[in-house]
Structure formats: C-alpha cells, structure tokens
Symmetry: C2
Subunit: 210 residues, 2 copies
C-alpha cells in the first residue's frame, strides 16, 4: 500500500512532521562529528550528516550548513580559522555524538567527555575514539539562492584510519570500522554488507568482489 | 593501529586507489536510482549517491553530478526537461540498480528489466519496485569553481512511500523499507538500527525513542 504526499500536503502539515519526513527522503546519511577551534582556543564538536564526496583529484569534500541567520559555532570557526576535522562515529560513542548537538556554552568535548586529540600539528581537534579522521581546509563557500543554505567545500589534507578498515585497493570497509550512519533527525544505524559488485558492462553478468 | 595518508601521498597513489579511498571518506551514502526521460521519450535510469537534504520549507533536495565534460544522459535530461525521480533501492533489485550504470545505448529500464511506472501524471518515470519514490523539479544549477562539479537543486513535488515505512511523526523507517545504502564505488549495505535518541539538552540524559 503506497501513501502519496504532495508538496501542498507537506507544506500544510505540522512543521515537526514535514521536518522529519523531508529529512529522511534521500536515505541513509554520512554522519560525522566536526571538530573546530576558535581564535581563543575554545574547541567545538557537533554532528553533521549533509557531507559528501566532491572529487578525488584533488581530494575535496562538501558540507551543507543551515542558513547563517543565528550564531553557529562550527560554521563560524571554519570561516574564521579555515580548518576543521571530520570524525566517523561508532556504536561506542554515538550517544555522546548525539549529545554534542545540545546548546552548550563551552566545549562539547568537555561537556560530553569525548576526548580531543591533535595529530600531525593540525590546528583543529580530532575525536580520539574515532576510527576514521579527516583533516580539512576550507577552499570555497557557496550560498545557495534557493533557501540561503551554506555549502562549504574543503581540501582533504590528511586522513587517519584504523588499519583494519583499509583494503589494498584503497576502499574502506565501513562495516569493519563500525561507522554509524543516521536517518532523519535522531535515528542511528550500523551498516550490514550485502556485497561488493564488479564494474558493470552491457551484456556482462555482475560478480561479487570477495 | 592508525594509518596516516597525507594529501601528497594520495595525489601520488594509483588513481584507482585514490578514487576508491576518497569516495569512501564521508561514510555511508544516500543511494537512489534517478529516473529521467528525454524529449524523444527515451527513458534513462542511473544510480547516484551524492544526494542530500537541503531544506524542508519548501522541500528541497540537492544532487552532485560529475563535471559536464562528456555526454551524461541523466544530467542532460534534467536540464532539458526539468524533471526527474528519486527511487530508493532494496536488496531485491540492488544488482539491477548497479547494472544500470553500464553504458547502454537505449533505456536502462529495458536493459536491466526494471519496470518503469508513471504516477500522478508526472513526466519522468519511477521504478515500480521502489518502496520510496520522489518526484522532483529542477530549481537551481550551481557549477562549483573548485573542480567543475555540477550541483542541481530541486523542488520535491510528490512523494510515494510504502505505508509500513511511514511513522506518525513523519519520520521514515528505512530499516522497514529495506532501503539500501552504499559506500565507495561498488559496495552495498542495509541498515540495522541502533536507536532513535531524544532531543539533546545540556544536563538532560538522553532517552531512546521507542
């Protein structure tokens, strides 16, 4: 049984319903904790899930931020300092990761007990427990006309990944790293592999890559 | 044991290694089949995973496309007609979904046996087997300076979702819908819920939403 919801019905629905519903439509999301530090040395940590691959040569990542209408520490720290980190979340600390979204006055690292660490002299803090950490440097800012959403594009400067999750061909085993993915506003999942599939060509049967 | 890869090492690595590695860094991705139709009535179906929530009021979705240097049917059909559909993939047809990425001359619906359907008079074709289908209308195009990647923003016009996956609060149960997520270039997974968590506030313990 299929339910049909039109744009008109969505716009007339309660705002909590519309927010949850529309946020879930694209599917599973790329959850990361973003670590930043302001000019006074105060660190910040916050969960984001609108993060996506933009290019490999050079390595570039993109992140969407809500319109810049109120104070947003992560966004402002990135604009002011140019640096941030991405940190995958695991089942061991996904509740602390969720809790970093609360409105704290000081550092979310201290407030939630997640330990920060500094690697390779990079300015912004990483999450010590994270199995995959990426050092990023701001490269381009685009404000989307449609609704004021802010898109930041960043160069990937360094990656730190637990050895068990890195395969010889360069692909990452996110099941092995226990990377958490999220849906909607508040729901967390781990992934369970179906298969890796061979490169698709017309007339050629697919094979599973083992 | 953490492995460190610098930007320099990535740029000097084999291109297949760099492509797989960088593509996997953000985490699990939002896999959808995009359905389009050209001005001559030829349909097209192709898998995309750089798809993300942009806003709920009005409902807007964003999709990244590789730089427009060679013929790309999906991208051109959207630019020329203004319409496309997003279709979640399930374990029942994820191999056919992967196979639609092969370079076919005609329609990928015919080539892979995935049945197309038309709903509510919408111009572009949906995937009949999909448990969550979204009708989209092109709203804005942004070419990213950093590497020529194309960002399309689209208004969500209609949503069709299997009733079992829609909760009363508007959130979607993607485990129940059996939505597939992907990582890297060729790897497919289903999600397994850890929990839904209550709204985070300083000093307030999180609760699981059941």
């Amino acid at each position: 049984m299929m339910v049909h919801l039109s744009k008109k019905q969505l716009l007339e629905a309660e705002s909590f319903f519309r927010r949850d519903f529309v946020n879930s439509l694209a599917g599973y999301k790329s959850l990361n904790l973003i670590g930043t530090k302001n000019e006074n040395g105060v660190t910040n940590l916050s969960p984001f899930s609108q993060i996506f691959h933009v290019g490999a040569t050079p390595p570039v990542v993109g992140i969407l931020f809500r319109p810049h209408t109120v104070e947003r520490h992560t966004f402002e720290n990135i604009l002011n300092t140019g640096y941030f980190t991405l940190n995958h979340v695991t089942p061991v600390f996904y509740k602390e990761a969720h809790q970093t979204a609360a409105r704290y006055e000081g550092s979310e690292f201290e407030a939630t007990g997640l330990e920060e660490e500094y690697l390779n002299g990079f300015f912004a803090p990483f999450v010590k427990l994270s199995p995959l950490k990426v050092a990023c440097k701001l490269a381009e800012r685009v404000t989307l006309k449609i609704n004021g959403t802010e898109l930041l594009l960043a160069d990937i400067e360094d990656v730190f990944v637990e050895e068990k999750g890195l395969r010889k061909d360069g692909s990452l085993d996110l099941n092995e790293l226990e990377t958490v993915t999220n849906t909607g506003l508040d729901e967390y999942h781990i992934g369970q592999r179906l298969a890796r599939l061979s490169y698709p060509k017309p007339g050629k049967p697919l094979e599973e890559i083992l």
